[in-house]
């Protein structure tokens, strides 16, 4: 983490307006509360959290696919908050996304050649005679046969489609890819193939990844650092193994313990109650309504991220418990 970060985000906020409560005042739904993080070149940052945690929103906000507010959002030295639409379009060459659903993320009417060409055309890359070798290189890179180029998505299995999605993201040689639940829809055996592919690509091209998933063991395997989100707030962030094997936040501990495993004994930490509605969040620590260790003090202040170890931070007042 000595090098300048590739991506630096400070106090990212996102809210949706959901109708009006009075004549003039708009009600808004806050889905991200002051999320700050950075990604170093070549680093894989894992984002975990349950539905509603805002993890996908973060990925889309960085790619400017949705509007958001932040104090700082810098990518490769450029300020994304003040960037012009034209500059942003050329910057898209450097930041890409891989989607969860391998069926929805490919246009059913386009051949693989057209899908990959669109990516190259958008930035005027590999024109003319250089096009075909590049297309072949791309499909080979993700482990597909070049003869597949003229087929349409419906001729492929889920795993193959996901590889095509990865090839599309790689076509423009990005330095940063958001993988939004990129392996969640795949069967276990195919998931392992795609995870290996991503790990190889990272070793080969030095690309940085933001790996978003609800599956903790997948995130732990692929990530250098892991950030745990709950209802749009960062609960814990730190090196992957540390967060997974010695979590410092009760929410992370509960998540890890809830994960079904073949080898560990069932020692699940029970959470009480349901995830609160984002419209009526608890005061103070938002996790306190389900936290087994909550105290009266937790209702009063929003716990700040405190350093609990090397590069390891946790947002919990009760540093005494874990």
């Amino acid at each position: 983490m000595t090098a300048a970060p590739l991506l630096d985000v400070r106090n990212l906020k996102k809210s949706y307006s959901i109708g009006r409560s009075g004549l003039f005042s708009k009600r808004s739904l806050k889905v991200l509360h002051d999320v700050s993080f950075s990604v170093a070149p070549g680093e894989v940052l894992g984002l975990v959290g349950e539905s509603g945690s805002g993890k996908s929103t973060i990925g889309r906000a960085i790619l400017r696919l949705i509007e958001s507010q932040s104090d700082v959002m810098r990518f490769d030295g450029q300020d994304l908050n003040s960037i012009s639409p034209v500059r942003m379009r050329s910057l898209r060459k450097q930041m890409q996304i891989i989607f969860q659903d391998p069926y929805a993320s490919l246009d059913p009417r386009k051949t693989i050649r057209a899908v990959l060409s669109e990516a190259l055309d958008a930035h005027g890359l590999h024109k003319g005679a250089a096009r075909v070798p590049r297309l072949i290189e791309l499909v080979t890179l993700v482990g597909l046969d070049p003869s597949f180029l003229d087929r349409r998505p419906h001729e492929f299995s889920g795993g193959q489609r996901q590889r095509i999605g990865i090839a599309r993201a790689l076509a423009v040689e990005p330095s940063f890819i958001v993988c939004d639940e990129a392996v969640s829809a795949l069967d276990v055996s195919i998931q392992a193939q795609v995870l290996n592919l991503l790990a190889d690509l990272r070793a080969k091209t030095g690309v940085s990844l933001m790996f978003i998933s609800h599956d903790l063991s997948v995130v732990r395997y692929i990530s250098d650092r892991v950030m745990v989100l709950y209802l749009g707030r960062v609960m814990e962030v730190g090196p992957a193994d540390q967060v997974h094997f010695s979590p410092k936040h009760p929410y992370t501990a509960a998540l890890v313990s809830a994960e079904p495993s073949l080898h560990r004994e069932n020692r699940r930490i029970r959470l009480t109650g349901e995830i609160p509605s984002p419209l009526v969040l608890p005061s103070g620590c938002i996790f306190r309504s389900r936290c087994p260790y909550a105290q009266p003090a937790c209702a009063e202040t929003v716990p700040p991220l405190q350093t609990v170890g090397d590069q390891h931070q946790s947002a919990c007042l009760r540093t005494d418990i874990l």
Binding site: E50, K93, Q96, A104, V188, S189, S217, P260, L262
Partner: protein, 640 residues
Amino acid sequence: MMSVRNFPKRMILPSLFLAALIIIPFAAPLITADDPVKIAVRYRLAAPDLEHWLGRDEFGRDRLARVLYGGQVSLTVAFVATTIACIIGTLFGLVGAYFRGPSEFVTSRLSDIVLCFPPILLALLVVTLFGPGSVTLVAVLSVLYFPTFARITFSEALRVTSLDFVEASRALGTPSYRIVLGTVLPNIAGPLSVQYSLTAAAAITIESGLSFLGLGVVPPAPSWGQMIRGARQFMNQDPLGIMIPCAALVLTIYAINFFCDRLRDTLDPKGTSGSSMDEVSKPKSRANAPTIKDPDVVAVINNLRLETAHFGTPAVIEDVSLTLRANQCTALVGESGSGKSLSSLALMGLLPGAIRQVGGTLQLRRKSDEVVDLGFLDARRLEDIRGNDIAMIFQEPMTSLNPIHKISDQMIEAITAHRPMSKSDARAHAIALLKRVGMNDAERRIDSYPDQMSGGMRQRVMIGMALSCEPRLLIADEPTTALDVTIQAEIIELLQTLRQDQGNGLSLLFISHNLGVVADIADRVAVMYSGLIVEEGPAAQILRDPHHPYTRALIESMPSSHEELNSARGDRLPAISGTPPLPSARPSGCTFRDRCPIALPACAHIRPALYPSADGERAVRCLRAPEAPAGVMNHQTEAA
């Protein structure tokens, strides 16, 4: 868009029909030499003869000529107006949907305003103001119909725009106009072309209506509406006069609608197999009379074989045998396409029409201790069993609950379907069930709608409903896959408690791809691969010490099996190479051999049977497993 070679067969007839109806009027000079406007009063209302096939009208004009030339006018007006409306409407809709904001407002409000007017009144108004004539008609019809196109384009484009592949194009930096024209438009072409045909048909009717009222085409120019108007006065003396233009109208509109219907089916990728989907299939031959001797056994699937209805296609399920016991949880594990869900649907008698049971038995011990073979029951007896003796819960509770009815109504309906009970008793029973599945404040929350509940709560409701008639067998098809891990753990725990509490010894068939969840809940595990059970036995044994290479590979490819591996250090997960074969492309011999790390040449020749272990507790379908009988490989290789 479509080359001649792959022109769909079902479109040939309607296309020819429609083309004929469009071409014939424009070929009028070739068909008849008569002038449609030449008056010959002497021959008024003359009957058909060899020269004038359809006779003459009230002014002695040739009817054939008039109906053909009239068709030219009617069709031109209709198609020109529809084309203009389609282009303008589509542009409005696309701009509104893709760019949102002010353009969305303009699109939707403008079309709302036009849609407020009854079409025929608006047309009357415009024609009265600007005078009748073909040009006015085209203008009126375009204005009338563009909002429909704008609406359809808008809603369809909105749907397509929210799909990931459009987002991917945006993330790639593709310019907006290229996304709209190159990606969004082709994906909404299906509904648009159907709307085009429908609108053309409607435009023909309106054109005729206006001409009939004297507000359309100006006499003496022929049009079908004009012809009806003229013939109306002589309807009693000469019914043929009114029937000819009417027949022309009916035929044209029928041709267009016929074309639309087929077009919609053709463009819809899912609509290929048509209406046969709802039939419940039946096995060909009756097997032996059902017998389950062991009173502890709730259901037995024996050598189940399922095939698709197409002749000559291979079996989707080759051989599945399972014994489901009371108080036991059996997990059916496998990847997508392995046939695990089909096996459970067969138990429910809910196989899709395209799939037939061609072999094996599905025996169930009912609550009354009567043993039935589910494959041979008629629909009514199956209905009586479903929900009563067997219940099922699905992956996504939201799709199984009706969003417009309260939970209470849906639960009461489910309860009273199988139990004669008053509504208030059923409600009390429903509340008790909800409490049993762990819903706090059930008295109040029973009156909420499904979308007011979280995914975990909805799944609890589904479980409560499934238990309402105290079934002997509960089938849970990936019940926690759509849920968050903390909620998943709660649901698994709930299923565990219910299984222990249920007085009559509930048997649970748990279908999942997640081995971790299976380890938590199952007593026995059956692993499926490519339509076969490849390994079966007590969960603890199978998961700790798998004997089939597929089971072993599945376990090893899970990242959670390798807590010491870390991709940042360059560690790789042991993945299974390749993909599961389609039923039509299964390899000879062992279906897993292409992907198997320990396959031998013999595996290509012998399709292994399910070999039981010495103690009979487990069985595995692999030649190299310790259970495989000695010498099977040598013996059969020689034979092959």
